[in-house]
């Protein structure tokens, strides 16, 4: 196995006194889709948000342990958050395009970073939208408000927006849970395409989704990783009884 692109070790996270993550040790491989599954409140989102330090925003969060991105400890005080988040992009549950035109949405990150060259921007817009498999649907409406598109299209625009800043890793927190099945399927197909160039870590409540698209699956419970393995193994013959119960829908 090659060196992982992101890995965590002994990661503990506390919200105030409440320990939300316990000794998480996970390693994610490049150009794979990894799924994080587990019951509500088990810490999936919390963990995901550790990977690009989105938890820093929250009051009273204490994090110990290591999160390494390409062997670099991202929690070292010197880390430049802004650049880190450009390397590790994030897509959220609710499609959240900014209330601007599609074009502006895609170029926002770049323009704020100072890119001005119109031609370059145009190129990036086209490339990202194509990668996010939404180019055909929006190419004639680049200057329309991004909010005027359907939920599934919006989510793919959000993905394109992240792609535009050329991240290495894309974190996704339940990116399809707000969408209807057809839109979800479109997003899933997009992810499968993106896998060639990006590393994707996705939180999902939809076990079928995890099984369909991910290469590896981590099963969280009460802030711990119960099992982390090839998705096939997890759904065919997991080692842990709890995993088996969970993936076979035998909850509670």
């Amino acid at each position: 196995m090659t060196a992982p692109i992101i890995s965590t070790n002994n990661l503990d996270l506390y919200y105030g006194d409440f320990q939300a993550l316990h000794q998480i040790k996970l390693a994610f491989q490049e150009n794979e889709i990894s799924a994080l599954i587990g019951p509500s409140g088990c810490g999936k989102s919390t963990f995901l948000r550790c990977l690009n330090r989105m938890n820093d925003m929250i009051d009273g969060v204490t994090i110990t342990g290591a999160v390494n991105f390409r062997d670099q400890d991202i929690y070292s005080p010197q880390t430049n958050l802004v650049d880190l988040r450009k390397e590790i992009g994030m897509v959220f549950q609710q499609p959240n395009p900014f209330p601007f035109s599609v074009y502006d949405n895609i170029t926002y990150g770049l323009r704020i970073a100072g890119v001005k060259d119109k031609q370059k921007l145009d190129e990036i817009v086209e490339r990202s939208l194509k990668q996010a498999a939404v180019w055909d649907e929006v190419k004639d409406h680049l200057y329309d408000n991004a909010l005027s598109f359907s939920g599934g299209q919006q989510q793919r625009i959000c993905i394109a927006r992240v792609l535009a800043v050329s991240p290495s890793v894309i974190l996704m927190d339940e990116p399809t849970s707000a969408l209807d099945p057809i839109s979800s399927a479109n997003i899933e197909n997009t992810l499968l395409e993106l896998k060639k160039d990006y590393t994707i870590i996705i939180v999902t409540h939809n076990l079928q989704q995890a099984s369909r698209i991910s290469d590896r699956t981590a099963f969280f419970m009460e802030g711990r990783v119960v099992e982390y393995d090839d998705t096939t193994k997890m759904f065919v013959n997991p080692d842990d009884k709890q995993t088996e119960d969970y993936v076979s829908g035998r909850f509670g």
């Binding site: 988040r85 994030m90 959220f92 959240n96 900014f98 209330p99 926002y108 970073a113 991004a146 800043v165």
Partner: protein, 296 residues
Amino acid sequence: MNRMQKQSQVAMGLLRAIAGFVVLILAFLIGYIFITGLPNISWKFLTSPAKAFSAGGGIGIQLFNSFYLLILAMLISLPIALGASIYLNEYAKDNWFTSTIRTAIEILSSLPSVVVGLFGFLLFVVQYNFGFSIISGALTLTIFNLPLLTRNIEEALASVADDQRQGGLGLGLSKYETIIHIVVPAALPGIISGIILCSGRVFGEAAALIYTAGQSAPALNFADWNPFNIDSPLSPLRPAETLAVHIWKINSEGIMPDLTKVSSGSAAVLVLAILIFNLSARYIGRKVFEKMTSMD
């Protein structure tokens, strides 16, 4: 039809009647202001200076003063309110300290404007020796306006979904960049309508200005736009009676023979101006949103 449904229909009728009655009151009020006021409005009325004791005075200077004061007050209060509301809504932690600040701001907003006016009088007019002047008035209006504006802007900011912020941060923008480039633009329609609604209130405010911007409207030299000249319309150090103050003054002290006409005409102009503010609030808010969403 059963009893419940009958009851429901009676209640609906009652509610309609109440709404109708309220509309009637409102229509009466506005109608009263316009019917008594509009006939007195003429171009001359709108442009000529007021007369203290003879008929035929206009409200030109007062009208100009009102707008000038409003613009100044907004220029001063907007950045402060924006900064403060950004801090409150985006940076401040939710603890007793911020809630104290909020309470304090709200107290300020529900303080009678007379009190604010007197405070402004003692502070700006007397203490800082700005005299009865536009600048004293503008600063006092700022105090009067800040809490409301801050509140409005904060509401507009708060109505921007957290998703948007996360989207910004997730794209690698710094928090401040996210606020400036995403949250504020997204809240802009709300901010603008907040500003314009506040403008309406400021425009109609009298009590806070009586002791600060003063109750006299010396003649202006509209050919002189040098703010350092005392008779320049732009001079911040000249006293400036506004329209609302004018209405108040002629009703309390006026000795001109046509004072009811002037007063009702002024009231109608004021209400018209506020009406225009409100309409433009909606229009500009919508336009800005459209603009922003398809900027090219």
